[in-house]
């Protein structure tokens, strides 16, 4: 028996053109990922993979226009980190600490827990200093990120209409507060395909507890499931069911898949259904993923210095935090894994971390979370840059909304130590992949209540992200229930200022 899995034998079944025709005939070509990738390995499809000639849904495809970004690392911090304590210094707010806001400003505003009549402005105890040549002001909670200031494009004028977590998360990640829409990573893979041969095009890395949006944050919605985010886990096997069951050695697995392929090939010869060929190929790729994924997560090949820079093996403060112990290590790993995934051609890596919803005890909990996130993220930016990958890799720090300048006086809590949900003005940043670093976009008023300059809506951000990949957000559409849907719904405007 040939030691090699039998792909070459399949290719002996017919000429290239007959193989091409069964590719074209496969109605649901999800498994075609595998086949096309194997064929390309054999040099059969090299250079001719275009949208027209190969229906492989994940085959790389040309963008609408030339662009820099090839991959995206999308750091999603669920719950809404306080922009006032991290990104948007408000000296005036500190002056007004303890004072009420004019009723006119809060009149038609909804809050989750805050009691309007007795709420007071809450100053920020953080120290903001200028960093980099650009002089970007950042909080003392982010000392490592501050050293990357010249690569960051900090947007202080984000706004959204979603007010509760789950709808807000859907809007940020899928462009709509409604369920059932595809996430950004799904849209990108749908639009551009993926360069990865042995790994999915859209990978999700989580740490800590779950998000309130759960899997809907990386769902492919109405797009084929091929485009949905594949969750890599940080405990146990990296991909669900990647490991063989107990008692199945690698040798047994190899021979099993070989036998399976042979039997399926006999069936293919008998019934001549191209879908069988696709299934054969997906087993081949599954087998390859079984070695590629463990190789990916095996970090010992990284130098000691690299591991240290990301903060692997750091001490984690022994405080009781939501999500439990072990998040420092998991988050640092995820940042390093993100770089490794991008190196291997994965299109979209979503790093997810929950627990930024600081209704109370904000100072301690935000400090704890920043201690966890700051160093690995900064290390990742520098690592990407040093390897020449930052130019083609877009890195985004985002959350569903921001937090109020008012302190949260939730009933039943004796002291005010947190901030409530705030959709009208918040901050996020982007770096790399064609982003113009070292600048601040937008401005909020003196207390950070509303945007006064250069407002950027979630849909504008999404339009800009797509533009960085050479995609016109108006043209990337999918017909569903009679309508051509877009990531940006019926809105969105590219923020030119963010681009190089």
């Amino acid at each position: 028996m040939n030691e090699r899995c039998s792909m070459t034998q399949i290719s002996q079944d017919g000429s290239v053109s007959s193989r091409r025709s069964f590719l074209a005939n496969t109605a649901n070509g999800a498994g075609m990922l595998a086949l096309a990738s194997l064929l390309r390995d054999d040099g059969l499809l090299a250079g001719e993979v275009t949208r027209e000639s190969a229906p492989n849904p994940l085959a790389p495809r040309p963008a609408h226009f030339a662009s820099k970004a090839k991959a995206c690392i999308y750091i999603y911090l669920e719950g809404a980190p306080s922009q006032i304590d991290l990104f948007d210094p408000k000296p005036k707010l500190n002056e007004l600490d303890g004072q009420a806001m004019p009723e006119s400003m809060t009149k038609n505003v909804r809050f989750a827990f805050l009691q309007k009549d007795t709420a007071r402005l809450m100053g920020c105890p953080r120290t903001f200093t200028r960093h980099g040549e650009c002089g970007m002001e950042l909080s003392d909670f982010l000392p490592h990120l501050a050293t990357c200031a010249d690569d960051l494009c900090l947007v202080r004028s984000m706004h959204t209409e979603a007010f509760n977590h789950h709808p807000g998360q859907l809007l940020l990640n899928t462009g709509s507060q409604m369920f059932g829409r595809p996430s950004i990573g799904s849209w990108l893979n749908y639009g551009l395909g993926s360069d990865s041969k042995n790994l999915p095009g859209f990978v999700v890395l989580t740490a800590g507890r779950g998000t309130s949006g759960g899997t809907s944050n990386w769902s492919s919605g109405f797009l084929p499931t091929t485009y949905q985010g594949v969750l890599f886990r940080n405990q146990g096997e990296p991909v669900l069911n990647l490991n063989n069951p107990e008692g199945v050695s690698d040798e047994l697995q190899r021979r099993s898949i070989e036998g399976l392929v042979n039997l399926n090939r006999q069936r293919l010869a008998a019934v001549n259904d191209p879908e069988i060929a696709t299934r054969i190929a997906s087993y081949e790729l599954a087998f390859r993923m079984q070695s590629a994924a463990p190789e990916l997560i095996e970090l010992s090949s990284e130098s000691e210095a690299t591991q240290q820079s990301y903060g692997l093996g750091r001490d984690e403060p022994n405080v009781k935090s939501r999500g439990g112990k072990g998040q420092f290590e998991a988050f640092a790993r995820n940042c390093l894994l993100a770089r490794r995934l991008v190196e291997r051609g994965v299109r979209f890596v979503n790093i997810v971390h929950a627990s930024w919803d600081h209704h109370s005890n904000l100072n301690d909990e935000l400090k704890h979370n920043c201690l966890m996130a700051d160093q690995p993220i900064a290390a990742m930016l520098k690592d990407l840059k040093q390897r020449g990958l930052l130019d083609t890799t877009l890195v985004v720090w985002a959350s569903e909304f921001g937090r109020t300048p008012l302190g949260e006086n939730r009933p039943g809590f004796p002291t005010v130590t947190g901030r409530d949900h705030h959709p009208f003005a918040f901050s996020l940043w982007c770096a790399g992949g064609g982003i113009k670093g070292g600048q601040v976009v937008g401005k909020t008023d003196d207390i950070g209540w509303g945007v006064v300059e250069e407002p950027v809506h979630i849909h504008d951000l999404q339009a800009t992200l797509l533009a960085l990949f050479g995609i016109n957000h108006l043209k990337l559409t999918y017909r569903f229930q009679g309508r051509d849907f877009r990531l940006t719904d019926v809105a969105g405007k590219v923020v030119d200022k963010m681009l190089t």
Binding site: G29, F113, F179, G214, E275, R279, G482
Partner: protein, 994 residues
Amino acid sequence: MRLDVHGDAVRGGDSGPAFEAGKSADSLLIKYIAGLDPDVVMPPEGDKLSKEEVALFRAWIDQGAKWPEGSPGDGKVNTGHWAFQPVRRPAGPAVKAEGSVRNTIDRFIVARLESRSIAPSPEADRRTLIRRLKFDLLGLPPTPAEIREFVEDTRPDAYELLVDRFLASPHFGERWGRHWLDLARYADSDGYEKDSPRPFAWRYRNWVIDAINNDLPFDQFTIEQLAGDLLPNATLEQKVATGFHRNTLTNKEGGVDQEEFRVAAVIDRVNTTSTVWLGLTLGCAQCHSHKYDPLLMHEYYGMFAFFNQGNEVDLPAPLPAEAEAYAKAKSAYDAAHAPFATAVSEFESTRLPERLAAWEKTLDKSSSPTWTVLEPASIAGTGAVKFARQSDGSYLATGENKPAETYTLQFQGGVPKGITALRIEVLPDAALPAKGPGRVAHGNFVLSEFRASVSSPAAADPRPIEWGVASADYSQDQFPATAAIDGDTKSGWAVAPQFGQRHVAVFEMKTDLNIAEDEILTIVLDQQHGLQHTIGRLRLSATTMPRPVQLEGFPADVAQALAKTYEQRTLAEQKKLLAHYAPLDTELAKLRQDEAEHAKQAPRPPATQAQTLAEISPPRATHIHVRGDFLRKGEEVQPHTPAVLHPFRGAAGRTGNRLDLARWLVDPANPLTARVTMNRVWKNLFGQPLVTSVDDFGTRGEKPSHPDLLDWLAAEFVSPSPPLSKGGAGARGGVGTAGNDRGGEVGANWSVKRMIRLIVRSATYRQSSQPRSELAERDPRNVWLARQGRFRVEAEVLRDACLAASGLLTPTVGGPSVRPKQPAGISELTYAGSARWVESTGPDRYRRGLYTWFQRTSPYPMLMTFDAPESNVTCTRRDRSNTPLQALTLLNDPVFHECSQALGRRMIAERAGDPAGRVAFAFELCVGRPPGDAEAQELGRLYAEFRALAEADLGAAGKLAGEPKPAEADLANTAAAIALARILLNLDETVTRE
């Protein structure tokens, strides 16, 4: 604002009319498209209009702004679109190859094929047929015995008999119920952040399975699900049916606007109804009139108005068997309990009066302490708390429950002279959490301070009352009654854990209190502990008894009655005395305790509930939501249906309701419901629909591949079946009596089963699914149906097939959802890991896939990997992807590995004396046929290889075999069989319906 619909263009947008005929110079439209207003330029994106184009607009307005008749958007609703035309019943066309026709369905297919000079495929062999039919009708693979029986059945109607047998199986309701649950977006949790479980969602699923098994006609099936509650004398089951629209999502996040999510649920009901019954994308008209179909925004809200009156109600809904068992147990209990109750009542009527008299003699009436209940002139809290006076003079707090409260009671007049103490009674009440007496969830309260003062018109400041001692019948550790008069609001009196019972605290005054008639006594109950530790029901009284004051005593009315002799008392007074004395009688107390003890054995009523809809009263007004924003209310709208469809009859003299809407949907004049439904049935039996856009029959949808066939099916579906005595269907024309011989084409009268029966009996359905190379280029998607479809089975069927082949399947029908094994770490993805996955035990681990608990924010991974819907919105058609993750699941997922182990063991156990036959036996269990020579050779080779591997590493073989450990002599064979079974369960053919 739209310019492509006449009415909208003339009406204009938010800023008023866009133009007036003849006056282009005043037109807002021209102003914006010509760029005359630098702030508003239209279109907002893309290229601006050229000067020439703007000039054309000007000219058109100046020439009268005429909208050509018959152009799109001319305001006429009667479009020529095929799906809006009445359903016809075309005659089956003549075909050359009459031999290819088993019933009329075939005529439509064969005629189209003949026009392209294509012959249909031959009938599939019997093994394929029974496997296809059982997958399609029951979602399970046939057993080897069933296959043999069918293959050897020589009766001419063997196939038809098989069809009828499957249609009568209770598994039919599971298979076709699951198709319906996709549409119903069925799930076992709320969705959104908290994603709370819905422990009784399954009650609706049971209804669906039963309704489909009983072949509830589709019109009735529709009416009961949309409006079963509104049917006259609605049965419990008809109310349960309304659970269809209770599968909408619920958001329980902190601080959500309940109205926003109520509206979101109503919108989903409108959109789902429209998609499922009409195949229309009505949701597009939520923010503006539909861009492509003749559906207007006010029509959207007309539909919205029907559902806007629905209220979500959870009903006790025991299953018939549960109700019966309960009734039986209850009557047995009632009989056993009667003597205990009788003993109490007999004692009360015969013995109690004499014992009261005896007790009275023991009393020293002169010194009996007396408490007078004080009737407040006012009682109020600081928040929006309300107080309801109870008949015993106590007050029950309702309404707002602030974290901290201060109740103030004022008394004027009716206060006795010479008061020595005040007393507060805190009382239990069924309306309070944990029966009170406090308002916090567990029933406690903290009385931080008990203050009293007297204000007099003469004095500027009220004079505070000074307290001597305080005592209580019971005090929580660290919370004594004295803490309520220590002047410190951080301490207080509380009663944990003695909740649900009466407690008293007494506060003695330092000096006797005498209040003049014009003075006011104010008592302040300060409750500053926070977290809603407030008092739920209370009563205040005063006493004049000498110090030390006793906690208890006779209430004033009892004392009054006691002061009289038996003969002097009124009947009411005597009753009052008996009521006062009864709890003090030790013999009665014992009888009552016996009764209470026995009452513990009372059977519990079944816990089963159902999520249902009910109509609210008075009705809510429905307004257009301007731009889809529920806060921006436009004009008011009455319930009505889109004008492009058949007329809405409703009921004369009243507004239309959900029941009227449901009847409108199944009105035979409706051009859509029957077509849309038949299209889905067809899809489920061929793997592809006749109209590809199953969810869009509008103008942007796909045209049917076989329009006449679709119409014929729709007509047959809704035609009433005439009584058999009249015979035939000739009267309605179309098909002739020949139909009778060919599957009962006499009108299905909304019977879905009859339509399925008809379709699966057709030659078209019975064709081989073998792809035909000569058609690969001409009809790559098999639209012409020159063969059957060949496709991977759905997620649940795949699970069931593997469980069945391995012998693990638990075939129980119906009941609550179960939690089979899933890989570790899945439920942790939910919000704070709230949805814990407690694995089911015993046979429940191997139930069919449709019973798997569906948690919306962390759905069962295997289901999602194989394209089960996310169940957040209605799903009319599943994907059929083919991915490496599926390969990994089938190879390695714990459930499938267990199947491999069970199948491997089954090979050894059931073919103990036939090692050579083992492989063929397992192969047939998986794919329904014996292996061919080449396959048998490959399988034999693999088995030998696996055996050799197992012998070389018995440790690994032991692990592979799992528990219970096989006998040592069998170990290598068992491990080899399991390894082989694993391959068999992964075969393309195993997971494919051919």
